[in-house]
């Protein structure tokens, strides 16, 4: 391991977190709090005809029952990717429409949660039900070619060279189709809101990755000035994309609070989170790869069907990632969106990259066996310094080094290439697999403010959210190093709209956006000190420099944008919108990369798969906080294991909804599922993409884990699994 540029800083909020004193959104309990509970739709699609509220309202302690008849003053939310702030266009309880099973249809407010839950169950709701499509295979599902879909940000298919002819003329070919069920983020912290009014000023406590979007979005729905709304989200109990936009309960909590004249708390139960928020869409991906006898790819065809809702066209960006794996001379994609009656899907960690890696890297493994070529060698032969889609150079791409270092650390040379050739002492079949993953290197406009005080303390306020990835620890590491102060002297304020604007933290653009702004504001501070006549080049402590200005504190502001962005784009994030750039910048293209080596042990008679060992190498640019980065990377591998072997939402197409809609039935990894995970970083800064040299880490860490596992399963069992999650019967069937 090379020595890290930045020091190992202990996670700065760990001490509060282990003491249980970190306050998450719905830990807030203002005086006189009322509690809300939803009644949810028991039909697959249709409309509410009537709600009999008599029994519920007669219950002592019930304060109010809110149905669509009460909410006519509220404006429907708009989809994030259609110029709005919400995860979808549809707003439950704002109309009589039921767009999918499990959608909220009424909200009960009561003195206690117990009474609210009981009253919600007492509501008698009559519906008109209509036919619906709950899955991609349903007869009423509607496929639409994505390039023709009326989307605000249209997505073209990728076309490089004559891929069909190249494929047909190839010497060695693979043609396989890979399926993946819907998956759900399931952050441990439930989605919820505490809303309270002070006159015409609204305060929202909510765990959200997008405090700015919630502020402007809820103001728009309520018809009030955004200046009167403060959204506070300093800590998020995991987001993983599910908390990246305004959720259904937010406007209803604010509305109910205004109606009641007292604070309202709504915590959305886990089962309801499987029915009224985003998921990773189900996909079917067909990959056709052709190579010459030496293993050089000559052409690739890539067809994707991705589930969306009938409410919105959720963009499917799989092809943009798939086209960047290798130096294909010719590549052609065709993406269809399959419209179904579910909540609009969304951005679950590595939203497209997890699926795309599974398809491309499984196909590459299949190709390696046809070529009788080592899978690491096949990947090295097809590495590229140039982006085949744009023709531009990659600003950095250390895939080959990740492959070599990973192979050495893992002990790849001990792998017998023949399937079913390695057996453990207890009879388990041993398999070893490799795969790569990648994720767009994005960045966007961000503002920062810094205050340095005479006593040597520093407070930095920047537009980013702390959801456990270690953003605040990284910020403090950067500020401390840049200003030459102790980390303990620095505090950071994030996720609070009473400070600088708080744009959406997602898409692995958190650090890539915020850290350049943090560095810029540190420089602005030193500039301000210099302009005040203070000598800033010596060894004078920062507090002393402030003192020499004769003032108690110095405050400066700064901002940054991604390469090629007009600074005016700051106006977008100032109004709660998203404005990322990348991965294609003027003159170059930027991606982060992962390489995973996985060992599986498959119990021969039951097909049970264990993952005792993973070695992963990452090229994410500069590592700003080695300790939290390592944890984030390990967590990403855990996500990959879950997303391969455990996670899939099951829907009975006759009824809609999610049958396994809780975390006892929708399986996420538990401690006993996880073995040794060793991670390493190249830690080479990429100063083309931003001044901090960072490319993004949070999502690439799980990209490629899935095919590394299924490739290892093939090596162990000689059974190719092409559908996720892997189920035991897939292995047992092949042994009959």
């Amino acid at each position: 391991m090379s020595r890290n540029f930045y020091p190992e800083l202990v996670r700065v909020d760990a001490c509060d977190k282990v003491r249980g004193i970190t306050r998450f959104g719905t830990d807030n309990r203002p005086e006189n709090l009322a509690h809300g509970a939803f009644a949810v739709a028991t039909i697959g699609k249709g409309r509410v005809l009537s709600v009999d509220t008599l029994s519920a309202e007669a219950l002592p302690g019930v304060l109010s029952v809110i149905t669509h008849r009460d909410t006519t003053s509220l404006k429907p939310a708009q989809f994030l990717m259609a110029g709005g702030y919400a995860f979808q266009t549809h707003s439950p309880i704002l109309t009589a429409e039921v767009a999918y099973r499990g959608q909220p249809v009424a909200l009960v407010l009561a003195e206690t949660l117990e009474i609210a839950i009981e009253a919600a169950a007492l509501l008698r709701i009559d519906y008109e039900e209509v036919a619906f499509a709950a899955t991609m295979d349903s007869p009423l599902a509607e496929p639409v070619a994505q390039a023709q879909a009326p989307m605000r940000y249209p997505l073209e298919d990728v076309s490089v060279g004559d891929a069909l002819s190249a494929y047909e003329g190839g010497a060695v070919k693979v043609d396989s189709t890979y399926g993946m069920e819907r998956q759900f983020q399931n952050p441990m912290e439930l989605i919820g809101t505490v809303a309270s009014w002070d006159g015409d000023r609204l305060t929202i406590h909510e765990g959200t990755q997008n405090a700015g979007g919630c502020k402007f979005g809820v103001a728009d729905q309520l018809g009030i000035s955004p200046e009167n709304v403060t959204v506070i989200s300093p800590f998020i109990g995991g987001g993983f994309g599910q908390k990246n936009s305004m959720q259904s309960q937010l406007v209803l909590a604010a509305f109910a609070s205004r109606q009641l004249g007292r604070p309202v708390k709504i915590v959305v139960p886990r089962r309801q989170l499987f029915h009224d928020t985003t998921s990773r869409p189900a996909t079917r991906q067909r990959v056709r790869l052709a190579a010459d006898r030496e293993g050089r790819l000559v052409g690739a065809l890539y067809d994707v069907d991705a589930q969306t809702s009938k409410l919105d066209f959720f963009p499917a960006e799989h092809a943009d990632t798939a086209a960047r794996f290798y130096g294909y001379p010719a590549f052609k994609s065709f993406t269809r969106l399959i419209r179904t009656d579910i909540p609009t899907p969304g951005y679950m960690r590595a939203p497209f990259e997890h699926a795309a890696a599974f398809a491309i890297e499984s196909a590459m493994d299949e190709l390696s066996y046809q070529l009788k070529m080592d899978p690491v060698e096949l990947r090295l032969r097809n590495d590229t310094a140039v982006d085949v889609v744009s023709g531009l150079p990659h600003s950095s791409r250390h895939v080959a080094e990740c492959l070599r270092r990973g192979a050495e650390t893992f002990g790849w040379s001990r792998r017998n290439p023949k399937p079913r050739s390695m057996v453990a002492a207890n009879g388990d079949l041993i398999g070893m697999g490799v795969a790569i993953g990648l994720y767009s290197g994005s960045g966007g406009p961000t503002r920062a403010r810094i205050i340095a005080r005479r006593d040597g303390t520093v407070t930095v306020n920047v537009g980013i959210h702390e959801m456990g990835q270690g953003a605040v620890t990284a910020i403090i590491n950067v500020v401390a190093k840049r200003l030459g102060v102790q980390p303990s002297a620095v505090t950071a304020m994030v996720g609070d709209t009473s400070g600088v604007p708080q744009p959406l933290t997602a898409g692995s653009w958190g650090s890539t956006s915020a850290m350049p702004a943090v560095e810029a504001v540190c420089d602005a501070l030193m500039q301000a000190l210099a302009e005040a006549g203070v000598e800033t080049s010596g060894n004078v402590p920062l507090g002393e420099m402030v003192a020499r200005t004769g003032r108690d504190e110095i405050q400066t502001d700064a901002s940054s944008v991604a390469p090629g962005q007009d600074p005016q784009v700051l106006g977008r994030t100032d109004t709660g919108r998203v404005a990322p750039a990348g991965p294609v910048y003027p003159g170059f293209v930027t991606y982060s990369y992962a390489v995973h080596f996985v060992e599986v042990h498959v119990e021969a008679s039951t097909g049970r798969i264990r993952v005792p060992r993973v070695v992963s190498m990452f090229d994410c640019g500069r590592v700003l906080s080695p300790r939290t980065a390592r944890s984030q990377a390990i967590g990403g591998v855990v996500w990959g294991i879950g997303g391969t072997l455990r996670e899939g939402a099951e829907t009975d197409a006759r009824y809609g909804g999610v049958m396994n809609g809780d975390i006892a039935e929708y399986l996420i990894p538990v401690n006993a599922d996880i073995g040794s995970i060793e991670v390493g970083f190249i830690d080479e800064p990429d100063f083309q993409v931003n001044r901090s040299g960072v490319k993004g880490l949070g999502e690439v860490v799980m990209a490629g884990v899935a095919p590394a596992i299924t490739n290892a399963v093939y090596h162990a069992t000689e059974t190719r699994v092409r559908d996720l999650p892997v189920r035991l019967e897939m292995l047992l069937r092949s042994q009959e």
Partner: protein, 210 residues
């Protein structure tokens, strides 16, 4: 496993236990008392509950050494009472169904899922929450080990992991990494901090026993 442990707790508490409720209640009453939100209720007529179930029940217990006496809705979970009435928000709600362990607290020294424990069950018992694990500024060895191994990210499951981890050691179920993994698998961590959690518990076990 959680259920078994709770039954153990139930068996030695006086007053209203879950078993008594199950024996004495009607089907509807049981559903309401156990907090199950069932659409079936709405479909089988007026589910008004017997007046007896509305009675507030006096419950007296100790939380982190302090005695509390509260008149409680018999349906209230220990978790909701801790969080909403006593302001002890360290225990978290991640599922409300005993599936995730984020609400883990100690009842008379044993770990329980407080979301699955009716508050009326804890009459006269001792509750320890994350807020009461350490004294003053001194951290419990388990808390320190979680920091040392960065055994957390978002921190939402952490109070439950730490309370479960302390119990895991006291139960003598922290003898090997394999054993820790098995006995900590009732506490989900979506950030995926499991390797750090196992290392932290192994470390803390040495400190607690030393």
């Amino acid at each position: 496993m959680t259920t078994d442990r709770q039954d153990d707790v139930n068996s030695d508490i006086s007053g209203l236990s879950r078993r008594d409720v199950l024996k004495g209640g009607t089907a509807l009453g049981v559903l309401a008392v156990t907090g199950i939100d069932s659409h079936a209720l709405a479909q089988i007529g007026n589910p008004s509950l017997p007046a007896a179930f509305r009675t507030e029940i006096e419950v007296s217990f100790r939380v982190n050494g302090d005695r509390s006496s509260l008149a409680l809705d018999p349906r209230s979970s220990l978790l909701d009472v801790l969080r909403d009435q006593l302001g002890l928000t360290g225990a978290k709600k991640g599922c409300d169904h005993g599936q995730c362990g984020a609400c883990t607290v100690h009842v008379d020294g044993r770990r329980v899922a407080s979301c699955m424990t009716l508050a009326v069950q804890i009459d006269d018992l001792d509750i320890t929450t994350i807020e009461g694990l350490s004294e003053g500024d001194d951290l419990h060895p388990m808390q320190q080990a979680f920091i040392d191994h960065d055994a957390l990210q978002c921190g939402y499951c952490t109070p439950g992991q730490i309370m479960a981890g302390v119990a895991c050691v006291r139960e003598e179920h922290a003898g090997s990494p394999q054993q820790i993994r098995e006995y900590m698998s009732g506490n989900l961590c979506r950030c995926g901090a499991y390797p750090g959690i196992v290392a932290a518990i192994a470390d803390a076990a040495r400190a607690m026993e030393g």
